[in-house]
């Protein structure tokens, strides 16, 4: 048993090292009390719904979310809009469909099964409209950045005047959390930019938190069931381990050697 603890310690040390080495250049990001962290972490429904609002009214004019469908908005573990609300949201978008029997493409109101409508027809069009920079797809953005949610949350609030002596080209902005501090996205959020239906005051901080929560859900739509299943699985394993431990002791007691 003593040996086993030693194995445990050494392996956790090795992992600690390798994990630490992965995040080599650390900048202190802003953070907040994310409801989805921890063993029982869940999304805050209100934050997800507000975050969706910020995404649609602000981000979605440039950033696509190509892996999400409108049906996801009504699914368990997500913003959990009612089916009727999700249908209404979908119907508010024009979706290109076809070709029809005449061989023509046509537009129709969106359905639950449709993917989120893309702001641009293709990457080139997106680049042309944004000074050569492609606004990244936001479906897995949180997982695609080293700092995760804290990074996105900080970036949205990280716009400042550039330090003296730093000259910025047209269409380039200073952001203290961006890699290299130069970003082609202008500051998007300002206090009161959106009007929340639930009366929450739309400060920059609040909107950053809400939209980041929404992006986290978009990247990990099954996070809640993962946490719930994980807890059950680990409790089950621990109980089984204890039972097997005592069975082992009993079996080995037939011979004089210790296990």
């Amino acid at each position: 048993m003593k040996n086993f603890l030693r194995i445990f310690l050494i392996t956790s040390l090795v992992f600690g090292l390798s994990v630490k080495s992965n995040s080599a250049e650390k900048i202190e990001y802003l953070t907040t009390d994310w409801s989805f962290k921890g063993l029982f972490g869940k999304f805050d429904r209100g934050a997800l719904q507000r975050g969706y609002q910020v995404y649609t009214e602000v981000c979605s004019s440039c950033h696509s979310m190509k892996y999400l469908s409108y049906r996801n908005l009504a699914e368990k573990g997500g913003p959990e809009f009612s089916i009727a609300e999700a249908k209404a949201i979908a119907a508010s978008f024009e979706v290109t469909d076809g070709p029809n029997d005449d061989g023509e493409m046509f537009t129709r109101p969106g359905k639950l099964s449709d993917k989120f409508v893309m702001p641009y027809d293709n990457v080139k069009a997106a680049q042309a409209a944004n000074g050569g920079a492609y606004p990244p797809d936001m479906s897995v953005l949180v997982k695609a950045r080293g700092g995760g949610v804290d990074y996105i949350y900080s970036l949205l609030q990280g716009y400042e005047d550039p330090p003296i002596g730093m000259s910025l080209d047209d269409g380039v902005y200073y952001n203290k959390y961006m890699y290299g501090n130069k970003i082609k996205m202008a500051n998007q959020l300002s206090d009161g930019l959106v009007e929340y239906g639930d009366g929450t005051s739309a400060s920059v901080e609040q909107m950053s938190k809400d939209v980041t929560t929404f992006l986290m859900w978009a990247a990990e739509p099954h996070l809640e069931s993962r946490h719930q299943m994980g807890f059950k699985a680990i409790v089950y394993l621990i109980i089984l381990t204890i039972l097997v431990y005592f069975s082992m002791k009993k079996i080995w007691s037939r011979i004089e050697t210790e296990v």
Binding site: L17, A144, I238, M248, E256, V259
Partner: protein, 420 residues
């Protein structure tokens, strides 16, 4: 194995067993005499078998949903994560399973190094093990390419480019590997095919590995030959089965923690960005389990020599049974070797650390020293140590240290540390 007599009780059993001795095999496996002083470091063989089967089963399911095409691979992985029932679970088990597999194999290898399990008469077990380890690295590398993220693409580019270091034919080999003039769709499809093939090769080699093990039987912490069966041994079932089972469950708790609570911590964020041949990531780093070799590769200024050094670092292990000249197996009775062993462990950990860092300045210097020491350990320290080292007296049987019958005080003290 040959000394095993077994006659099935039932008439049908006897008829069947005379034609295909499966029952004899099953009886051999359950009765297999195992040293009773095996400690928990010996449970990783069973854990590794579990890892292999987990990877094969989850991999099969993933392959049903995955699309090996440069334009669709990334999308299909997201499809698995979002729309396939429990697809996220299967994929996270598979992705973290690779890390767990390597964690277990490194413990298994270093256990072997400590207790001299590679020495006569177990050289063939050891060499098969090294081949399995090489195939594991190949499988892991190929698998990491399949999601077709940025690290997949650039990792594949860097590693395949290593072959261009071969004089004259290098460039040709790289083009042949790629199936074109850059890493692209033909590369992805062949990587997928090979990634699917290799685990079954490993499975076959694991059977040989265990077969070869069952000829001389297990080594043990004392490292002496034992009579089997005798009072020094216990039958594999139920004694070792339950002990391996207990250790496996502990391992699964760690595994589950990674899968359910930090599924992406061992991966690189850049791999959630779809592969883009026009944008090179700031740092191209392999998965953690390949970092020590990556450090060796980068510590040599010449490309060809770097590749040679990296390959030698692995292949040198195959020569280990002959490089280690000591007749004593277990480090318990080799006071000097024991110290060098821990220096080697530290050396490999340091190599892993600098492998993740940019190859410049102090990091590069440390990597070079650590690389030099790695080879020094195998090529100089081990051969000399066998002649120079004053080893401790070895007990005659494993029951002797267990019962505390040794007259040697120092030995009795050591025994306290390694009894478990």
């Amino acid at each position: 194995m040959s000394d095993h007599e077994y006659t099935p009780k039932s008439k049908f059993g006897k008829w069947f067993n005379d034609r295909l001795p499966l029952l004899t095999l099953a009886s051999h496996l359950t009765d297999y005499p195992t040293p009773k002083n095996l400690n928990y470091w010996w449970t990783f063989g069973g854990i590794l078998t579990f890892c292999l089967i987990t990877q094969i089963v989850t991999g099969l399911v993933l392959a049903m949903h995955y699309i090996a095409h440069a334009d669709m691979a990334f999308d299909s992985v997201e499809h698995i994560m979002r729309n396939v029932n429990y697809g996220w679970l299967i994929r996270y088990i598979h992705a973290n399973g690779a890390s767990m597999f390597f964690l277990a194999v490194y413990i298994h290898i270093f256990r072997s190094l400590f207790y001299g399990s590679y020495k006569s008469p177990r050289e063939i077990i050891w060499i098969i093990g090294i081949i399995i380890y090489l195939l594991m690295m190949a499988a892991a590398f190929l698998g990491y390419v399949l999601p077709w993220g940025q690290m997949s693409f650039w990792g594949a580019t860097v590693i395949t480019n290593l072959f261009s270091a071969i004089p004259l034919v290098g460039e040709g080999i790289v083009t042949w590997l790629w199936g074109g003039y850059s890493v692209d769709n033909p590369t992805l499809t062949r990587f997928f095919t090979l990634h699917y093939l290799i685990p079954f090769l490993i499975l076959g080699l694991v059977v040989l590995h265990i077969w070869a093990l069952h000829v001389p039987g297990n080594n043990n912490p004392v490292g002496i030959d034992i009579k089997k069966p005798s009072k020094d041994t216990v039958p594999f079932h139920p004694y070792i089965v339950i002990k391996d089972g207990f250790a496996l469950l502990m391992f699964m708790i760690v595994f589950a923690f990674f899968v359910f609570y930090t599924p992406n911590i061992l991966g690189h964020a850049d791999n959630y960005i779809e592969a883009n041949p026009l944008v090179t990531p700031a740092h191209i780093v392999p998965e953690w389990y390949l970092l020590p070799f990556y450090a060796i590769l980068r510590s040599v200024p010449d490309k060809l020599l770097g590749v040679v050094a990296m390959l030698s670092a692995i292949l040198i292990l195959a020569a280990l049974p002959w490089l280690d000249t000591s007749k004593i197996r277990s480090a318990v009775f080799r006071p000097l070797y024991r110290q060098f062993y821990w220096i080697l462990v530290a050396d490999v950990l340091i190599l892993g650390y600098v492998g993740a860092m940019p190859a410049e300045g102090l990091y590069l210097l440390v990597a070079r020293v650590a690389t030099a020491y790695y080879f020094l350990h195998f090529l100089v320290v081990l051969p000399i140590l066998g002649y120079k080292e004053k080893t401790l007296p070895v007990p005659l049987s494993i029951t002797e240290p267990v019962l505390g019958g040794s007259p040697n005080l120092a030995l009795a003290k050591n025994k306290e540390n390694f009894k478990d």
